[in-house]
Subunit: 191 residues, 6 copies
């Protein structure tokens, strides 16, 4: 492996603590943490940005909406890690075992709301033709109740995961096997 | 729904028998059967072609290889129905719960053999730039033991599902919910 | 030749009969028949599908309309065999010696009706971006009197010849010389 | 018609003489002459350039080679006028009734020499990605005996007809009916 | 250098005079003159066309508008020579030190008028998809006061510089260093 | 302006200090600082990432190399702000008044070293087709002395500015006028 995952024993203390907290919550360490930990300064900035966008408490985007944006645009960029990992979180947050696979193939044929489709249309344009985004795109969002701060959120999530996709792809990161099944089987059947 | 699924009571006898046989084997009627049954003559030709390619007993392509071609190229064409339905069969035949999701995002990052990658490189070229296929593509296949009849098989499966993808998309066919989970959970855990 | 045309002596009886019937009508055996006859099961399914779409008696598409769809989309896929062979039939059925060459270059500059242009716009979208076809495309057809069954016909013809184009290209099939001149010279001048 | 063909009575004398000379040779006035005559200064520059490239007596490109470049690249640009008019001249100069239709669909499947294919590969790259042309492209030409002056000729013909294609398309010029049949019927049959 | 600039001593008299006149006006000989002078007949036609389009006294395009079209479309074609040389002239004629850099990156984000944006939208369509230009594009121009003769001017300038871009790229022409700074520093600061 | 620049009086103290430090060094406040300061958490993460990549002291990329990557890939994404601002820094660091304009149009025709061209080829592939990056791309870098950590640096800079480009474009940020002229006029002439 060209860029081996870092050994958790070798990372700075603050990063180890952050990783262990995630591991406790998830039950495993998602590979992106160890893939990025080789570069502590980049790691810290990456996850600070991540938290600023994904844990943000304001605006009209739900957490499931945000994961839907990530899953959709990551598929457009061909990033397996992000499609599988964020698709898993999308299934859990939306309590919908199908939607992640649907938006990963093509959000236009997914069983989502018109509001979500408008959100993803905007995200796809930011992904593919950012210089072509114009007032008409903001108007299309506004027609579904998204204001300019929401538009910024959609754009920022899209742009940040465009960065994430590229690092996961060039870094050769693979999704942990656990992600593939998460959120697919109703809880009661698991027990 | 613009093109409603046909009621199984209304289809010609031979088509009803064929559908019931599939239902008995699968436990449900895949939507493509009822989506195409509105047009009996097309239905019969479609499934005759399907069987000629997918149940063929000669050549070096395994049945899992064929489903891998279908899953990969259907994702390139944006066809949710075929990605989900054939991805399910791919998981079952390959006994690999991950590979379908991997090739659907990008076969170049999937955990497959070099031979399978060459097979999918060829299939993707037939999908995207059929007029550009040339001797070098056949040579790349030959380097992995695929002869000209195998190349024809790969091309024919790709071409046939390019047709299937377009009918499923224009026809508005959605994958049955059962497909999404098939082959993801090991058999013993199901029992 | 990687995939030689089959010798008519070696094909199953039903296929030979079918080919001889075409030869009697056309005066020669179009190469696609011998190119596909190497694979009898595929041959039978291919021509059953072909007949279901091209000889269909219902709907508002004329036979010339169907050949126009084939010529236009085959040019987009870069398939010489289908452009030349179906362009010939288009010239004969439409009694127009120019239209086939026009739509093969770009249907938007062809001397056709607005209704035909809408039909070809739809066919081109099915060819190039099948996942993007949506209600607006059906509405554009409806504005010219095409109902949903007509839309299915246009899509199915387009999709089927996308398959045909790929097999002719990968199979290395070349149009018979006879096709190039058919329908170009008015009958009375030939005598 | 947005840009009507100029009336030959209204054009400057030198242009009328030039047009009449062509008409005498061809038996009709190709529409591009009357389409451009509205703008005498552009007309004169256009045809001076045309003659400098197409009537040039030096270098290894035959006149048929030049018409083959024009037919191929004009098809890539979607220009009906140039495909039909120059395809006609190509048929006549090459004494081949098929080659024009072949290169118009895709030169890679045409029945031409390897040298002509290299020539057209270069012309297509100049058409589609001129900034990507590099030493490897010149080397590929040199392998078939084309020197740097020949490469300039190929590029200049391609570039000039890229201009011509755009003026014919925006100007709405249609090929004269005479062009469609020229060179398709052997001379002796015409008599 | 594959295509060396011609020595001014070796060019025909009329070409030398033309070049010396430019040199006197500009203070240096722009490389395109010596790059094209190797081919006197092409040189004469090229600059006759150039003058017919760029020195034209009629129509509503200002000379700055024309240089803006050239800068924008040359950037789309990746032609450094034309972007730098015509960007310089654009800065001088528009008395705006920023606009050339803006349109070279993307005219949709440049600080220009809506009329200029419509002009450049049309020019970009002629550059990229000439066969798709239709009445709606002419209507969009008309909404800003451009008549059909202006549309022809925009198309012709775009088409001519598409030719120029290809010759500069294949010919390996580099902008003279003088062009890079022209029009960036206000006159009074130069003195 | 949809997303107005933040008033420096209203930003958190740490951000104000950071901005004032830049202003003191540059002589003005680059608009990206006030454009992002509306979102303090994103601002802090953005510039922490920026510093981690651009002020990094290890590896073989010079600071001018990094600015060259930013200028080249930002032009591909159509981001005026980044092309103009980082082009200015590139001119200053490289002491070359021409190179920024060259790589912004097309790095393949810029007057740069083969090593820089390989670096930019890699960056452009990460920009445009990140899922297609493979071992051959790393080998091409290695042939010019770039090791895997350098490859990571190139990819990370490219990916980070892909994010930056999208925020500047959607955010409507315009380059400060000062950037356009920086590094174009030799120092002694300024005095």
């Amino acid at each position: 492996m060209r860029y081996p995952y870092e050994d958790i024993e070798n990372v700075p203390d603050d990063i180890r603590e952050q990783i262990l907290a995630v591991a406790e919550k998830s039950g495993f360490v998602p590979n992106v943490f160890l893939g990025l930990a080789r570069r502590p300064a980049e790691f810290r900035a990456f996850f600070a940005y991540y938290d600023a966008l994904m844990d943000k408490e304001t605006g009209s985007l739900t957490k499931a909406d945000r994961e839907m944006i990530v899953t959709t645009t990551s598929a457009a960029n061909g990033c397996l890690y992000c499609v599988v990992a964020h698709g898993a979180v999308l299934r859990i947050l939306s309590k919908d075992p199908y939607v992640a696979d649907q938006v990963a193939v093509d959000h236009r044929h997914a069983d989502i709301t018109d509001r979500q489709r408008a959100m993803l249309d905007f995200a796809m344009k930011v992904t593919r033709e950012p210089a072509a985004v114009d007032d008409a795109d903001h108007d299309a969002l506004a027609a579904h109740g998204f204001d300019d701060e929401d538009a910024w959120d959609i754009a920022a999530i899209t742009a940040f995961f465009g960065l994430s996709n590229r690092m996961a792809l060039v870094g050769g990161m693979q999704p942990n096997p656990e992600f593939y099944l998460m959120g697919r089987v109703p809880r009661e059947k698991k027990g």
